[in-house]
Amino acid sequence: MTATTSHVFQARPSSARRWETGIAWLFRGATYLILLCGLMVFGKIFYEGSRTVFKTEAPFVNTAFFTEAPETLHVFNFDGKKMEMGDRAFRAFKEANPAAKAIRSESYVYSAGGIFPAIVGTVLLVLGSMAIALTLGVSAAIFLSEYATHGRVLTMIRLAILNLAGVPSIVYGLFGLGLFVIFLDWNVSLLAGWFTLALMVLPVVITASEESLKAVPQGFREGSLALGATKWQTIRTNVLPYAMPGILTSSILGIARVAGETAPIMFTAAYAMRDMLPWQGLGSWTEFPFQGVMALPYHIYVVSSKIPQNEYTERVQYGTAFVFLMIVALIALTSILLRNKLRNRYRW
């Protein structure tokens, strides 16, 4: 049978085949469109941000950007050269050169120095709120799927949790302001931010945890109970470890949300500018959770809309966005590695 002679199994054109080809291309096109949009957004941020984050000389990374606090940028002419300096450097420059004492400079707030306090603040907020969200969320999921009796009440509770997922994040911010900041008198603090962010991400964690728990085969539970285990012993040793990979996957999504939301932390945890890191200037370590912090998404908001825009502030915006993406990717990577390790250990 050669390629040119036709045979019984020859492909014949038909409308079904045309639809098949067309639809496959449609789905392919949709995926590539999404990919393109993602690449454009990330591409722009990486391209512009790399100007701030990377240097041409060793060590090739602008470490000052990562390790210093924000300060005002001074731009001035000296000896015919245009120079830019941060506030501290400018003052030192003025001390060192008596001729420069009377120089006038243009000053741009937030445009020099680095974003170290914001990085610290975001990392602390993510770690704390994910810890609270996972603890509360997994506990609730275990109760809903293993202990609660089936009935109307259970359905209503599930519905209520699903509804929470649709609440706008600004409402969570206001709720946190009312309850944690004002009523419980925590003021603008890490604690208030942790709980507000945890509440925001709780519906996702609960739903995904319930699904992971349901995916564990019933045979594991029955076999364990038939050997004389209590319900909690069964869950702890024979159900929960095998549900962990799914739970951690939901946590990855949660991390991205928690790190990036501005509205919940605007009123509850974030300062536009704070000169002390949360562990500095404390009377005792118990005051630590009550400190407010700077945060990356809020910093981007402040630099982008609260101050006049120019080429110098643009540098900071893109640099901050770049660093923010890197940090979220790093934390998510840790979660993925942990999930893979657990997947290998608790394979079924």
Binding site: T149, H150, P217, G219, F220, R221, E222, G223, S224, L225, A226, L227, G228, A229, T230, Q233, T237, N238, Y242, Y346, R347, W348
Partner: protein, 296 residues
């Protein structure tokens, strides 16, 4: 009864080694005698489980009607009957696994093990399940190592002495006729075993906690004939130390393995007697029709 029929009957333990072709139950109907007393106890058999006029309900619908039978100690008792007749339900009542399903309840009657009503509020279900073990139809080895599977029940009780646990693992695996096959790979996953080996692992896991009773819910249903033979031989060995109640769809298996057989139909106990009697001269017409293959 012809000589051929009696000798074809694999009732003796020693001749259970027949492989793939199980002996046929005589198809020609033996003469039906007048109704013999339904519950016969062999002389000297002490009652371990007393099922006393039990009704059982799944929500509003009744699944068991007035079941009355006594399971004897260190004997193999088989529950046979067509699908949906309630034999698995009754089995799961004996270790209260039906409590896991919403809406189930015992309507009237009691199930007593060693004289204690197991549905009494003071009974600790955990203690009950330690004494009454279960092997399920679809073997469910945990996705842990073979060693971890066996000691799972012991870990629950808090035992952690390593040499203790090693000894129990060897004893249980020997008791389940699996030691020689897995002694070199105790730390490999339980899921890496074949189907028959997995079921024997589940049996080893059940006997590691040293129960008095082992309940087996169609243990060979998912196994090939060779694995089935191995499990049936194992049941014969185990009955010296444990009381075994086995639910089976396979009549020949009940004929080969058990000492006493109970025939259920649509939630009622039709007949309960020595296996020899049930299969050779059943007192009830329905029993006779079932064992001779005319229905079910």
């Amino acid at each position: 009864m012809t000589v051929a029929q009696t000798t074809a009957f694999a009732m003796d333990i020693s001749s259970t080694n027949s492989p793939a072709a199980p002996p046929r139950v005589p198809v020609t109907a033996p003469a039906i005698t007048t109704a013999a007393p339904s519950a016969q106890t062999t002389p000297g058999g002490a009652t371990l489980i007393d099922i006393d006029k039990v009704d059982f309900f799944y929500g509003p619908s009744q699944a068991l009607f007035n079941i009355d039978l006594k399971v004897e100690e260190r004997k193999v008792t088989a529950f046979i009957g067509p699908s949906g007749c309630g034999k698995s339900t009754l089995l799961r009542c004996l270790n209260r696994m039906n409590d896991l399903i919403d809406g189930t309840r015992i309507g009237s009657g009691k199930i007593k093990i060693r004289g204690v009503d197991i549905y009494h509020p003071t009974v600790d279900v955990i203690e009950l399940r330690k004494r009454v073990g279960m092997v399920f139809q679809k073997s469910n080895p945990f996705p842990k190592s073979i060693y971890e599977n066996i000691i799972y029940g012991l870990r629950l009780q808090g035992r952690s002495n390593k040499s203790d646990l090693d000894a129990v693992v060897e004893k249980s695996l020997r008791g389940a006729a699996l030691w020689d096959e897995v002694k070199d790979r105790l730390h490999s996953s339980g899921l890496s075993l074949s189907g028959g080996q997995q079921q024997r692992l589940c049996i080893a896991r059940a006997i590691a906690v040293e129960p008095e009773v082992i309940l087996m819910d169609e243990p060979c249903a998912a196994l090939d004939p060779i694995a089935t033979v191995k499990v049936e031989e194992l049941i014969q060995e185990l009955r010296a130390r444990y009381t075994i109640v086995i639910v089976t769809h396979n009549m020949q298996q009940a004929a080969r393995c058990s000492d006493k057989t109970a025939f259920f139909y649509l939630g009622k106990l039709i007949e309960y007697a020595d296996t020899r009697t049930i299969f050779m001269k059943p007192a009830n017409a329905q029993t006779e029709a079932y064992v001779s293959g005319r229905f079910g």
